[in-house]
Symmetry: C2
Subunit: 450 residues, 2 copies
C-alpha cells in the first residue's frame, strides 16, 4: 500500500512512537499534583512545551496544548473574539480555510457576529489587498491559513499580517499544514497547529497566543494525553531536523506528478499554485470521472488518496476550496506525500493512474438513457436526477451538434454542476452564459465558441 | 512508591498499554476516509464503541468518545440545555459535583441561565426529595454524580432519576468515579465518564445520550487519539472483568483505614458515608495540621495522596465538597487505592501516618507570637494574617481558659476558618455561636459548653 494522504493524517513518526512508549511510564499522573508522580508529569509537560515553542518560534508561556488542531482553532478564534468584543464583532476569514475555521465563523454568525469571507484567485491564493479592503473599524479578528490543505497553495501571510497590524487587528494563522516544514514568518498574533499533520499522534493540537494579544480563555488548558503531547513535541523536533532535505525531495516528486499527469491522462486540470506551494501536495481533477469510483479504483491498486469531489463526501457538495477557486471538482484527486514517500511509489502511481481513469470513464461513458432533445429550437440536455459527472459528460457529447454561436441548455439538479459546467467551459474554451431557474434544478446555458 | 491517588488518575492498566501499542499501527488514519487505512481505523473505532457501550449498558449509537471526561461533561450539559431551551433555562446540580460540572453551571449562569445547587448531608449524599423540591416547570436538566470523587459517597441515582423522570426532566449522571466498577442503574438520560479514572489513557472521555433525549450537538464527535480510544475500551473491559473481586478486596483495605486511623491518630474525623461508598476511596481530616505539610510528609515517606485542604490548592479555598458537607477541611487526606493496591502498602501507610501527623503538629504547635488578649471581658484570639490550621490550633489552646458558658472570639481572615471552626466545635462538643464582621476578616464566636 502507498499512503498518499498525509495532509489528512500523517503516519506516526517512529520518534513519536518511541517517545509515546517512554512517556506512558512517566506521564500518566496529573501534572497539577504535588507528589512525585505529579511532579514527573509536570516536568515532561514543561519540556514538551519548551520543545514545541522552540519549533514554532515563540515563548513557552505563549503556547498551550489542546486536544486537537480543530479545538485549537475553535479556542483561538473564540478567545480573541470574546476579548475584543468591545471593539466589534466582525470576523474576516478566507474562503478556503479549513472547515474548523469556517465552522467557527458560522457559530459566530449564529451568535450575532458578522463575517467577511475573502475570496481567492484560481490558484487558491488570497490577496493581501483583499484583506485590507475587508478590514473595518469593528473588525475583531482576521484568520488566514499558512497554506491550503487541499491544493497546497502557500498564502501571503507576511503581507496579510502587515496589513492587519497596520489596522491594529490581530491575525490568527492556521498553520496546520506547515508547522512540520518550518516556523511561520510574519507578525501573526495567534497560531494553531495539529500534531497528526506532522507525524505526531492524533489528539494533540497547539495554540500560540503572542504576549500582548488580548485573549479570553473560557477554560483552563485542556489536552488529551500527556504521553501523546510528549510524542508530539519529540516528533516535531525530529521532523524539523529532516525538513529541509525532505522538502526538496518531495517537491521534486510532486513536480513530476504536476507535469506528467496532464501528459498521461487526457482532460485533466492540475490545480493550485505551481510555485508557491507546500512540498508534498499536488491536486488535479479529471473530466468525465466520478470521484468516488476513482478513489475506489486507486485504493484497489494500493493507493490511498483523498478527493474534493462531491460524490466522495457525506454532504454531496463539492469541496468549498475548489468551489472558491472556480476550478473543476469532478474526478478530483489530492495526492499528499508523507515524509519518506519513495520515487518508486510515485512512479507506480503515474503508471496506474491512466488505466484507472480510463476504466472509470469507460464505465460512465457507456450508453445511458437518451437525455438530449430539442425544445424551442434550443438543444436541451436533461440531466435531472443524474449525479456528477454525468451532466458534464452529456454536455461534452452534444457540444459538437451545436452550431458555432448557438447555445445548449443543461438541466441539472446536482449541486456540483454549478461548479463543473463553468469549469468545463473554461477548460474547453467555450462560453458559459449563465444559470437560469428551471422547473426542477437549474438550467446552465453554454454557447459554443469554437 | 505507593500511589494512592487513583481517583485523580489511575496508573495505566497493562491491557491499555498493550492495546495502545497495537492500535498505533492500525489506528492513525482518519476513520472518515474510504481507503484501506481509513476503513481499518473505522473498524477499530466501531469495535471500541461497541465494547464501551456494552460496559456502560447502552446502544453503540448512543455513545460518543470525547477528548476528556471534563469535555464529556461540558458537551453533555451544553447539549441538553441548548435542545431544551424552550422548556426553560433552569439547571439543577448537587453542591458536591466535580468542578467540571460546577464550571458548566457557572458558564450557564453567565449566559443568563439559572442554577439550583442541591445541598448534601454530613456524609456527602444528596436526598432525592431535595431534587424533587428543586424541580421547576422551567427546569431543563438535572445533574448528579454517581459517586463523590473526594469522599467516595455513593449518590441515590436511581431515586433521583425516578423523581426527574416523573417531572419529564432529563438527568445527566457524571459516572467518572464509578464506570470502572459497573453500570449505573436507574433511568438516567445522559451519562459521562473518563478513561483515566479506570486505568485507561488520559485524553479519552465518553458521553452517552439515550435515544429519545433531546440533544443539540454543536460539533461532530471529537476525540483525542484513536489508539487511546482503543486502549480505553480494552482496559474498561479488563477492569470490569476483575471489578467484583477487586471491589471486595479494596473495600476491606479502605475499611481498615476508616477504622484504624481514628485509633492511631488523635483528633481525626473520617468523612463520607461508611457504607454506601466506592470501594477504593477513604478520606479523613486531621485537626491542627496543615494539609500541604502533611502531603509533603507523606510524599517523603513514599505515599502519593491528595487533599481537599485549602493550603494544597491554587485557590487557597478549601474543597467545595468538604465545605458543602460541613466537615473539617484542615489536614485533609484522600486515599484512593488503585486496582492491585497491596495490603502491605496499606499497612505501611497506617504505620507511618501517626508519625507524619505528629511531626507536622509539633512544628505548628511550636511557640508562635502571642495572639490572645482579653477585650471588653471577652477572650479574643487574634489570628489575622495566619493561615489554616493556626486559627483552630489557637482556639484549641485557649478554650480551657474560657469559663463554661462563656465565649471566645477568633479573629481570622483565612477563608478556611469559616469551615473549620464550626467543624472543630462539632467534633469537640462546643457551641458555634456564629460569625460576625470585624475590622479585618471575621470574628468567629464559640461558647464553651463543657
Amino acid at each position: 500500500m502507498s499512503y498518499f494522504d498525509a495532509a489528512s493524517a500523517a503516519p506516526l513518526h517512529p520518534v513519536a512512537r518511541q517517545a509515546l512508549s517512554a512517556a506512558l511510564d512517566d506521564g500518566w499522573a496529573d501534572p497539577g499534583r504535588l507528589y512525585r508522580e505529579g511532579r514527573r508529569a509536570r516536568m515532561l509537560l514543561d519540556a514538551a512545551r519548551e520543545a514545541a515553542a522552540e519549533a514554532v518560534g515563540c515563548r513557552a508561556d505563549e503556547l498551550v496544548f489542546t486536544s486537537s488542531g480543530a479545538r485549537a482553532v475553535q479556542t483561538g478564534i473564540a478567545g480573541v473574539l470574546a476579548a475584543r468584543r468591545r471593539v466589534g464583532r466582525h470576523l474576516i476569514v478566507s474562503a478556503v480555510e479549513h472547515s474548523s475555521v469556517l465552522r467557527s465563523a458560522e457559530v459566530h454568525e449564529g451568535d450575532g457576529g458578522t463575517v467577511t469571507r475573502v475570496g481567492v484567485d484560481r490558484t487558491g491564493a488570497v490577496d493581501a489587498q483583499a484583506y485590507a479592503g475587508a478590514l473595518r473599524p469593528d473588525t475583531a479578528l482576521a484568520v488566514l491559513q499558512s497554506a491550503n490543505h487541499e491544493v497546497g497553495t502557500v498564502q501571503p501571510v507576511v503581507e496579510v499580517a502587515e496589513v492587519c497590524r497596520g489596522a491594529g487587528v490581530p491575525l490568527l494563522v492556521d498553520a496546520a499544514q506547515s508547522v512540520g516544514w518550518g516556523p511561520v514568518e510574519g507578525g501573526w498574533s495567534v497560531l494553531t497547529g495539529s500534531a497528526r499533520k506532522w507525524g505526531g499522534p492524533t489528539g494533540v493540537g497547539l495554540l500560540v497566543v503572542r504576549k500582548g494579544v488580548r485573549f479570553a480563555a473560557r477554560e483552563k488548558e485542556e489536552f488529551g494525553g500527556l504521553p501523546a503531547i510528549v510524542a508530539a513535541a519529540a516528533s516535531l523536533r525530529a521532523v524539523r531536523a529532516e525538513a529541509d532535505r525532505e522538502a526538496v525531495r518531495l517537491r521534486e516528486l510532486t513536480e513530476r506528478i504536476r507535469v506528467r499527469v496532464p501528459a498521461l491522462v487526457p482532460d485533466v486540470e492540475v490545480v493550485g499554485d505551481p510555485v508557491r506551494r507546500l512540498p508534498g501536495i499536488v491536486t488535479f481533477s479529471c473530466l468525465y470521472v466520478d470521484g468516488e469510483a476513482l478513489l475506489h479504483g486507486l485504493d484497489q491498486e494500493g493507493f490511498s488518496v483523498s478527493s474534493g469531489s462531491s460524490c466522495t463526501s457525506d454532504t454531496l457538495t463539492p469541496s468549498h476550496v475548489l468551489k472558491a477557486m472556480g476550478v473543476l471538482s469532478e474526478g478530483n484527486v489530492r495526492v499528499s506525500l508523507p515524509l519518506g514517500a519513495t520515487e518508486e511509489d510515485v512512479e507506480r502511481f503515474l503508471a496506474v493512474l491512466p488505466g484507472v481513469v480510463a476504466g472509470v470513464r469507460e464505465k460512465l461513458g457507456a450508453p445511458v438513457a437518451p437525455v438530449t432533445l430539442v425544445r424551442d429550437d434550443v438543444l436541451v440536455v436533461d440531466a435531472l436526477g443524474r449525479r456528477c459527472p454525468i451532466p458534464v459528460i452529456e454536455l461534452a457529447k452534444v457540444i459538437g451538434d451545436v452550431p458555432v454561436g448557438g447555445t445548449v441548455r443543461v438541466l441539472s439538479d446536482d449541486e456540483a454542476a454549478r461548479l463543473d459546467i463553468p469549469a468545463w467551459c473554461e477548460m474547453r474554451g467555450q462560453e458559459y452564459v449563465g444559470e437560469e431557474p428551471a422547473d426542477h434544478g437549474s438550467a446552465y446555458v453554454v454557447r459554443r465558441v469554437s
